[in-house]
């Protein structure tokens, strides 16, 4: 549906928090390596969709919180500048369920999200004059 503004969305069409297809992932809060939780394979599929688990590992995901998932969680946390715990803490899962673009963050196992060139502003003080430059 298209609406001119948010208040124009009919009340019966307004989404509740449970309308988010990923909200069930919040049930995994507190999960960490070594645990086995029903449905955890779905979260592995999520991470695989966005590149955090290689396509070559597709197939029979289990509900085990294994090293594959731990590595994926750590890479996700690094990309989104969360605390890198390797665990499914509340902050991480609250971020996982946010609506997002379907394009992968990681390609061929390498995250590109931090690959941009950084700008450093430096100041030089010359004889009687001061000027600034941006180094790319």
């Amino acid at each position: 549906g298209f609406y001119p503004n948010s208040s124009a969305v009919p009340p019966d069409l307004r989404r509740s928090a449970t309308g988010n297809v990923w909200n069930s992932f919040l049930n995994f809060t507190g999960c960490h390596a070594g645990m086995k939780v029903d449905g955890l394979y779905k979260l592995k599929k999520y991470f695989q969709h966005f590149g955090y688990i290689p396509e070559t590992l597709s197939g029979n995901f289990t509900d085990d919180f294994d090293d594959i998932l731990k590595t994926a969680v750590e890479m996700y946390q690094r990309n989104f500048q969360l605390n890198v715990t390797g665990e499914l803490d509340e902050l991480t899962l609250n971020h996982v369920v946010i609506p997002r673009c379907g394009v992968a963050d990681v390609v061929n196992g390498t995250s590109t999200m931090h690959s941009g060139r950084r700008a450093y502003e430096v100041s030089f003080t010359g004889r009687g004059s001061r000027f600034n430059a941006v180094k790319l």
């Binding site: 609406y3 069409l13 297809v21 500048q81 931090h114």
Partner: protein
């Protein structure tokens, strides 16, 4: 900012691009104008032009709203979740999830609207996906257009310096660009991540 592997971009001979809408969607002029505004935001900073075409099959960029599996192996998942996706140059395919509540008002710049409504600002998503169409990948800079997530009730349409630097690396600067973008991200935001 980041790029797709190999840094694909539209070739030198294709700098005047056309875009068209999936005719089966029968979009209103109001909805189409949202995309026009989104294209303008990128055209202001790079020497590319974007012209609307009525010929969907031959346009450089094809825009369509689809539901579930729609032929590219990347099915949409219903409300929320994945909102849209686009392909790297020179593919030009730009798809949005038909099952979202899209807000098309286009009022103002970045900001929030009623957050209790689970609705997505269409122009915010359009500006982001056009970034992919041009060759940008996702950015770790939270305020940038190319950050992968968007919170419901949020409108984010202004290019940041991170977005501009990225796209100008691919295409150079629009000679008429005056260098004005929204506030740059903080140094901490840029420098706290690893190098990937």
């Amino acid at each position: 900012y980041s790029f797709f592997p190999g840094e694909p971009r539209w070739p030198e001979r294709r700098r005047d691009l056309t875009y068209a809408f999936e005719p089966r969607n029968a979009l209103t002029e109001e909805v189409k104008s949202v995309f026009s505004r989104a294209f303008v935001r990128w055209a202001e900073v790079i020497p590319l032009t974007f012209t609307r075409s009525e010929t969907f099959s031959t346009s450089d960029i094809s825009i369509g709203f689809y539901s579930g599996e729609h032929g590219d192996g990347e099915p949409f998942d219903g409300e929320m979740g994945t909102l849209a996706h686009a392909f790297s140059p020179p593919n030009g395919h730009f798809h949005l999830d038909q099952n979202e509540n899209w807000i098309v008002s286009g009022d103002g710049g970045d900001g929030r609207f009623l957050s209790e409504t689970w609705a997505i600002d269409l122009e915010s998503v359009a500006v982001h996906e056009i970034g992919h169409v041009l060759g940008l990948g996702h950015s770790s800079v939270q305020d940038s257009i190319m950050y992968p997530t968007i919170t419901t009730g949020r409108r984010k349409v202004d290019l940041t310096s991170d977005d501009v630097e990225g796209v100008q690396y691919l295409y150079g600067a629009n000679p008429n660009f005056n260098g004005s973008t929204s506030s740059p991200p903080s140094t901490q935001q840029r420098d706290t991540g690893d190098s990937g």
